[in-house]
Structure formats: C-alpha cells, structure tokens
C-alpha cells in the first residue's frame, strides 16, 4: 500500500460516498464525531470537575449527561450499521430474485434452440447453422453468468451447502481436464498433468472444488494467445495438498494484480484478449477455497504467463 492509498483510507467523505448513504448515516463519519466528542467531553469534564470538585451532585450530573450523549451516539451508529447490513441483504436478495426470474425465459431459449438444431423439425440448412450456433453460445453465456451470480449471492448469504467427503484429487482433476478436451484441442494447447502420488486422497467438498478447478483451467485456456502450454501439478506440502495451474498466457499486469480476486474486476488486458467473462470466477474460487480451509494465490508476469495455485488440508 503506498502513501496515496493510505491517505485515501482516511478520506472519510470519499469512503462514505462508496456506501451511498448520507454523512450522518455513515459509520466512519459517526465514529470520527464520537471520537471528537469523547475528547472534548473528557477535557471539559476535567475542567468542570476540578472547579466543582466540592459539589458531588454537580459532578454526578455531568457524568450522567456525558453518558447520555455517548449512549445516543452509539445508538445512531448501530442504526447506521443496521441500514448498511439491510442494504447489503436487499442487494443479495435482488440478485437472487432476478437470477431466478431470468432462468425461466433462458431455459425456453436454450431448449428451443436445441430442438431447432436437432433436425427434428426438418433439416437444418448450412447457412442457418452459424446463427443457431450464436443462439446456443449466447444462451450458454447467460446461463454461466446467472449461475455465477447465484453462487455469489449464496456464498454471501452463507447458503452454499458444503458436504465434505474423502475424494481422490488426482482423479477429480483428470475428470475435469477431460471435460476441457475439445476446448484444449480447438485452442491448439498442450496440456499436461502430473500428480506426486496416485490416488491423492483428501477430505473436502468435491462439488465446490470442481468449480475452483474449472475456473483455473478455463482461465488458463482462455488467456493464451500464442502457442499455448498449460501444466497442472499436484503435490503434498506438509499437511496440505498443493494444486497449481501454470500457463504461458497473457499474464496479469502488475497494477491489476491486487484487484484480481475482487468481484466484477476484469483486468484491461483480459478484456483485450477475451471479451466474455463476468469477473466473478476468481471471487467465487477464493471464497470457496477459504471456506474449505485452504489458501489461494497466483504469480504472474505480463506476456509471460500466470500460475494460479491453492492449498487444501489433506485430512
């Protein structure tokens, strides 16, 4: 964090603007006011107290008055927190409702396109195929986005169910890689997978872990722009399993690296090479790994490549 960023943290007005509430409902501002009042009241209590030290009623009244002021201020602060929490809850609920409502028309679109391309309603002409392809591809994009939004909203509400069991991480990885087979071939990429041991047994939630591995692989394939190479490596590090996906893709510019796990963030060079993407994938993967008790990170150099990794407790 440089000095400019540290100073920005102290810019209360800007911080409050971020929440979209008035200054008098903003916790940071109210804390500042409370701090100022405490200092002023401590000084005035000392000044008044020393003057009226022989009058215990006066001193008691003064203490009572100060307590009342602090109590009212704490109440206002608590209320402002409640308001922010309510706004956040409403936002999550909004995402939830909208996503569910979008699913119905999207299912219509997806299934209708499938029937059209199946040839069941008559032969599909070659010139139409391209457009049916566009329909299918775009409904898939919407489907992915809606599913991502719902996953985020469930993660934020703590509603994403986690069911841990013993699994073989190398088999799971192989299964995920084979799912990307045609994408890898179409992108002219050489993908290798090495596991230190087989089977590599760990105790975790396979369904959630699939989302993480899928995101790592998908990103690695999408952001390769020349002769591509992806190496997936699995090993044991102390009591943890270490998993990495290394690519020689476009890399992440240094200035963007600190934002990479933030919601909706997409690096400028990622946008240049791949216009699709919600900017939610890495936020989701980080939240999942955190909930599974692991760590996640990456090393990247622009135009050289990126290595994304995570660790998970084995037992």
């Amino acid at each position: 964090m440089n000095i400019k960023e540290i100073l920005a943290e102290f810019n209360i007005v800007a911080q409050c603007k971020k929440y979209g509430v008035s200054l008098w409902q903003c916790p940071q501002f109210l804390f500042l006011i409370m701090g100022a009042i405490i200092i002023v009241s401590a000084i005035s209590a000392y000044a008044i107290g020393t003057r009226y030290i022989e009058n215990p009623i006066m001193v008691s009244l003064l203490v009572l008055l100060l307590t009342a002021i602090l109590f009212i201020l704490s109440f206002i602060i608590t209320q402002s927190f409640e308001k922010l929490a309510e706004a956040s809850r409403m936002k999550t609920e909004f995402i939830n409702i909208v996503s569910h409502q979008l699913r119905a028309p999207l299912t219509n679109l997806k299934w209708s396109a499938e029937i059209l391309t199946s040839g069941k309603l008559g032969n599909v002409q070659e010139k139409h195929e391209e457009y049916f392809g566009i329909l299918k591809e775009n409904s898939k994009r919407m489907e992915d986005l809606i599913n991502d939004l719902l996953t985020v909203s469930r993660l934020e509400q703590g509603q994403l169910p986690f069911k841990k069991k013993e699994i073989s991480l190398d088999s799971l990885t192989e299964e995920m890689i084979s799912g990307f087979d045609s994408f890898v071939k179409a992108s002219n990429i050489k993908l290798t997978f090495k596991s230190e041991k087989k089977p590599f047994l760990i105790y975790t939630d396979p369904h959630q872990l699939k989302i993480v591995i899928e995101n790592f692989l998908d990103n690695a394939i999408r952001y390769i722009h020349k002769k591509g190479e992806i190496n997936v490596y699995l090993s044991a590090r102390g009591k943890d399993a270490y998993f990495e996906v290394k690519d020689n893709g476009v890399g992440i510019p240094k200035k963007d690296q600190r934002y990479i796990f933030q919601k909706f963030f997409r690096s400028k060079n990622a946008l240049r090479h791949q216009t699709h993407g919600s900017g939610l994938g890495l936020f989701i993967t980080k939240s999942i790994i955190k909930r599974l008790g692991g760590k996640i990170g990456f090393n990247s150099e622009e135009n050289q490549g990126t290595t994304f990794w995570f660790t998970l407790p084995i037992a």
Binding site: H100, R103, A104, L106, T107, N108, K110, W111, S112, E114, I115, S118, K120, E143, I146, N147, L150, R154, Q159, P161
Partner: protein, 122 residues
C-alpha cells in the same frame, strides 16, 4: 407406450418437452397448473410425472404431497423439474417422496431424456 405427465406453467417449455418426448415415442399430457395436474395424475395414472415447483393454484410441493398421500398415485415416480435450487427446496422435495430433483437450466433436453429413461428403467 409409456405415459408422461408434465405439470409446468410455462407453455413454451411444456411444448418443447412434449415435442421431444413425443418424438421418442412417449405419450404425453400437460397441465399448466397444480390443480389440473393433480386431477390428470389421478385420472390418467401416468408412468412418470415431471413436476415444476412454482405453479399457480397448487404449488409443486402441495401436488407432490397429495400425490404421495393418495393410494392410486403414490407409486408414480415424480421428477422435480424446476429452476429453484436451494438445499431447503431439494431436501423438502426428496423428503416428500420425489425420485429425482433436476434444475432445468443445468440440463439440455437430451440429458433430460436420459434421466427420464433411467427413472423408467428403460
């Protein structure tokens, strides 16, 4: 010829389902709300029911409960086909006796057809 009942309030979706299942040689029936769906199930005794959860008049959960409480319909396998997917909904449907729980958007028609065949043990 096996009979399948779709209880689904989206007409386009219902048409798509009927289209694909008829092409595979199934006899299909459709109901656009829970009440009609329940009556059709009791009158026609289909081999399988595909049931949505968000339905007018009688919700999918209510339909499922009434189907399982009724002697004549309790053994008909019911596949829940919905876009709701909270753990609460899934557990409730399974507890009430649903055979399978599928999220519409996560399946294409071909995969759905496979699931139906599996359930009918074909």
């Amino acid at each position: 010829m096996k009979k399948i009942l779709f209880i689904e309030d989206e007409p386009v979706l219902q048409k798509n389902l009927e289209n694909i299942f008829q092409a595979e040689g199934y006899k299909t029936m459709g109901a656009l709300d829970g009440e009609i769906g329940l009556k059709l199930a009791q009158a026609e005794k289909p081999d399988l029911i595909l049931l949505d959860l968000v339905l007018p008049k009688l919700s999918g959960f209510d339909v499922l409960k009434k189907l399982k409480d009724n002697e004549t319909t309790k053994d008909i396998p019911v596949i829940i086909l919905t876009n709701l997917e909270t753990m609460e909904d899934i557990n409730k449907a399974i507890e009430l006796g649903a055979t399978t729980y599928l999220v519409k958007l996560n399946y294409n028609l071909k995969e759905l057809l496979e699931k139906v065949k599996q359930t009918l043990k074909e």
